[in-house]
Each structure stands twice: as structure tokens, then as C-alpha cells.
Amino acid sequence: MTRLGSVAAVALLAISRIAQLIAVILVIATFNFVLVRAAPGDPAQVMAGQSGASDPKLLDDLRKEYGLDRPYLVQLASHLGRVMSLDLGYSYRQRRAVVDLILERLPATLLLTVTAFCLALLIGTTLGALAGLAAGSVLDTVFTVLSLVLYATPVFWLGLMLVLVFSVTLGWLPPFGYETINVKLSPFEHVLDIMKHMIMPVTSLAAIYLAIYARLMRSSIIEVAQQDFIKTARAKGLSGSRIVVGHMLRNALVPVVTVAGMQAGALVGGAVVIETVFAWPGLGRLTFEALLQRDYPVLLGIFLILSIVVIVLNLLTDLVYRLIDPRMTTGAA
């Protein structure tokens, strides 16, 4: 494949992915629309939330603003138009636009999820590779049992147990929050402070995915090790470490990265619970607050935005996949 050809191929891929993203946003926005109509109570009451539903003037205004007396299709079209122009409605509880509320919290969630995702992938594949190369050893058995247990642990409970050990009992780490409040810190100290607050939420979120990736990497390594090209490499007299690094790891990583992309949705869901445990000021915490107040527009907006986050994470893993899959880079594909 020529260089120009491959650039065109990547551009084409990017365009098709953006089209896909827009399609998904429209589907989810439509789903949200249907859900508001399917909910008990009339749509104006649902959108006003618990605090606004008793205010007849507000309900009247809402019915007018959203044209709730017009045909459903007209309402849907105007709803989709609003979503595409980033108007996600208004929280009558917080008296602010939903999109502002969400954008304010999004960075904290991204920091948490992306850090946990990268760490889980990095450590999980390393441990899995070690276990796979030493299949049947004591180390392998320990890893296998540990990953089975982690896989069965509720993520929010793991978080609480970390708090119990490292904050309540040992007093080493702050039990909740994003930063220490009411203290003056230099920028460097501030970053350190945030990192300290991140240790437990990130660990609890990453642990389960780490277990999944480690198990996958282990079986993937074992499978790759039995393949002909590894035998060829051995026959050519390549050293053990060169075979592992040059031939096995890259090939073994391919299925792990595929699954990692598919797990992005679950990871984001886990972040929602973990933020509740640690009072982390992100979208999960916002979800919890919105649930307590039945602030429905906020819940709908969070669902839409988190879905977009997951799809973008998927795109990123897809990119990584293209970088590591040998068949993709040699141009044979």
C-alpha cells in the first residue's frame, strides 16, 4: 500500500467513525425522548423533577416551551435539534443548564476512568504475561486465584474496604474527596494532593479490570506460544527474551485490546459507583445527587454524555489495536 493510500484509508476510517458517533448520539437522544414519554406522569412533570412538579406555572411554561401539545414526531425533531446543538435541557432543582452541570464534572470523571483504564491495561497485561509464561507455577496459581476473587468483588465494596484499611485503621490516605480543602498549596503540592486522593478510587476501579485483562493475557500468551511462527523463531536461534518481546507480546495483546475496548462501558459504569463511595466530584457523584432529588433532565444528560465518552474510548482502543496488530501495519490488511 502506498503512503498516500494509507493516509486516505485512515481519513476514510475517521469519517466513518464520526458518522457512527453521530448516529449513536441520535439513537440515544431518541431513546431518552421515548423514555420521558414512557415514564409515569406527563412529560412536563417528569422534566420538572420532584421540586418543580408542584408548581403549575412552571409546568405550563414547560408544556409551551417544549410544544408538548404538538405531534410526537414534531416534538422528537425539535428534541434532536436541541441535542445536536448541545442543549440538554435545564435542571430546575439546581437552576442551571444540564450541559453546564455535566461539563463541570466531566474532567474529574475522565481523570479517574482514563487513569484506571491505562493502569489496569498496563499492569494487567504485564501480570498476565508473566503468569502465562510461567503457566503451572506457584506464581501462576496465585494470580489465577486472585483474579477469580477480584472478579467476584463488588467494586463499591472494594472501595469501602480500602477506606476501612487505609483511612480508618491506618490513617494513611484521605477517605474521600478530590483535594484537601481550606489549605494553601503550591501547584506541585496541589498535584501531589490530588494524586493522593486518587489512589484508592483508581485502585478499586482498576482492580477488577486488571483481573480480567490478566486472565485474558495469560490465555492469549499460552495460545500464541504454541503457534508455528514462535517455533520458527526458536528454530532460527533467536534468544528467549527476543522471542517474547518481539513476537509473542504484540500478538498476544491483540485480543486483550479488543476486549478492553468492549469493557469501556462497564468501566464507566464502575466509575459512577466508585465516585459515590469516595465523594469524587465527577459525573457519578452528580448521578447520585440527581437520583436523590429525582432530577430527571440531569440523569438523561449524563446517560447521553457517558455514552459518548465510552464510544470515544472505544475509538482510542481501536487506534491502539491498529498500531499493535502486525497484520494492520505490514499493509497486508
Binding site: V24, V27, I28, L35, A38, A39, P40, L148, V149, Y151, A152, T153, P154, V155, F156, W157, L160, M161, V163, L164, V168, S219, I222, E223, M262, A264, G265, A266, V268, G269, G270, V272, V273, T276, V277, T287, F288, L291, L292, R294, Y296, L299, L300, I302, F303, L306, S307, V310, I311, N314
Partner: protein
């Protein structure tokens, strides 16, 4: 018979089965051991474990944590099994249609499955339960509605594999009706991997239910493990037992189901399992 004998020789599968039986027995005998409802106050608030006849301690209102854990087993198993069955029904219907009819139907259904697999399932579950108000039925249907995609993909793959086998072609030639071919000929041959994945879905369903009730979206009339952990969260400094024991209960139950399911998978589909090992 051979299958049962093979399972009895599967060590981790047997550990899972034994643990699962223990949880099941606790769920069944809960009302005998704890005749008083787990919502009733039976002692002083914050009673530490072992005191006042409460082995696992008392909660903020003096309710027995042990009773809650025992009754919680009923809720978790009921919701876990019922929602896995709901997911199985949805997944099998979608997967069977996709695999049997192929073409445009397959394309549309698989796109839908992919979409459901990518979006954050837990956030969707929160939204659905919050919309239709938390009750036993809405929770079961919601967990079913977000857990079916793997079952649909599996069923589709099995149907694609079996669709052109001789016995199916023979039934077609004899003019049998589509639903009879699907239910009477293809599905029985595809059922064992479907059952294995359904049993593993019970485990994820229990985890999902516990996370929902932790967030305050459980059925308000049912004592569930997730709810207990959520209630213990704010008082973890004073009453660690309130959140530790229900969590162990979830861990043991989910681990038991996973071990049992994987043992079942090894015994029923040795071909697939050997590739995975």
C-alpha cells in the same frame, strides 16, 4: 450421567457448587433462624458483632446484620436468577432471529446488539429503574434488558453453525413450520452453551443488583446486600461490620456461581474450554 460424573471430578466446579448450596440453604432457612423480620429492631444501635445475641452485630437502628445477610441471600438469588432468565429470553429471541433469518434482519439486530454492548449498561440501568420506580419487577426487567447482548451473540453463532446441518435441511424439506424448526430442532442442539452463559449471567446480575441498591435504587421493601452496604457507608468509622459482612456475602455468592458456571462449561463444552485454558 456422564456429565454429572465429570462435574463431580471437576475440583473448582465442585467448590462452586458446595458454596452455592450453602448460600441456597441460608436463603431457604432464613425465616426459621431469624423469625423476626430483618427490618425490626432487636437490640441496641451499633451493637458490635457477637454481643447481645447478634453474631454479625447490629446496625444504626439496632437491626440484626446477620438477619439482613440471610434474608439478603433470598433477594440476591431471586433477582439474579430471574433477571438472568429474562436476559436469556431476550438474547435467545434476538440471536435466533438474527442467525436463522440472516440478511437485513441480522444486520439490524446485530447493530442494535453492538449498541447495547457499547453504551454504559449500569448508567442505562440506573436510568431505567429511576424512570419506572424501583420494585422487584422493574429491577429484574431492567437487569435483563441490559444483560442480554452476550447471549444474543452466542445464540446467533450457534444458529449460524446449525442452520445448514442435514437434520435442519431435512425438517425444512418436510415442510415443517419455522417456529417448529427453531424450537424443536435448532434450539435443543444449541442449549448447553446458552445455559452456561446464562448461569454466568446470574453472577453479573447479582453484582448489578447490589450496585443499584447501593445507589439507593433497590426495592424499598426488600433487605438486600447492596442496600446494607450503602447504609453502612456513612458510618464505616463506627460500625465496620455493617458493610463488611454483606460484602463478603456478595463475594462468596458471585464467586460460587462463577466457579460453578465455569465447571459446567468445562464439562459441557470441553472443546471450547480447552482452547480457553
Amino acid at each position: 450421567m456422564d456429565t454429572i460424573r465429570a462435574f463431580l471430578r471437576h475440583p473448582s466446579g465442585m467448590i462452586g457448587l458446595v458454596l452455592l448450596l450453602v448460600v441456597l440453604i441460608v436463603a431457604i432457612i432464613a425465616p426459621l433462624v431469624f423469625p423476626v423480620s430483618p427490618w425490626e429492631m432487636v437490640g441496641a444501635p451499633f451493637t458490635p458483632p457477637g454481643e447481645d445475641g447478634m453474631w454479625l452485630g447490629g446496625d444504626t437502628l439496632g437491626r440484626d446484620v446477620a438477619a439482613g445477610v440471610a434474608y439478603g441471600a433470598r433477594v440476591s438469588l431471586l433477582i439474579g436468577i430471574a433477571s438472568a432468565l429474562a436476559a436469556m429470553v431476550i438474547g435467545v429471541v434476538i440471536g435466533a432471529m438474527s442467525g436463522y433469518f440472516g440478511g437485513k434482519i441480522d444486520l439490524v439486530l446485530m447493530r442494535m446488539t453492538e449498541l447495547f454492548q457499547t453504551i454504559p449498561a449500569f448508567v442505562l440501568a440506573i436510568l431505567l429503574v429511576a424512570t419506572f420506580n424501583p420494585s422487584l419487577l422493574t429491577i429484574i426487567l431492567t437487569i435483563g434488558a441490559v444483560s442480554w447482548p452476550p447471549l444474543a451473540r452466542l445464540t446467533r453463532a450457534e444458529f449460524l453453525r446449525l442452520r445448514h446441518r442435514e437434520f435442519v435441511e431435512a425438517a425444512l424439506c418436510q415442510g415443517e413450520r419455522t417456529w417448529r424448526i427453531v424450537l424443536g430442532h435448532i434450539l435443543p442442539n444449541a442449549i448447553s452453551p446458552i445455559l452456561v452463559v446464562t448461569s454466568l449471567t446470574v453472577a453479573t446480575a447479582i453484582l448489578l443488583e447490589s450496585a443499584l441498591s447501593f445507589m439507593g435504587l433497590g426495592d424499598p421493601n426488600l433487605m438486600s446486600w447492596g442496600f446494607m452496604i450503602g447504609a453502612g457507608r456513612t458510618v464505616i468509622r463506627n460500625a465496620w461490620w455493617m458493610s463488611v459482612f454483606p460484602g463478603i456475602a456478595i463475594l462468596v455468592t458471585v464467586l460460587a456461581i462463577n466457579l460453578f458456571g465455569e465447571g459446567l462449561s468445562d464439562v459441557l463444552n470441553p472443546r471450547v474450554s480447552r482452547r480457553r485454558a
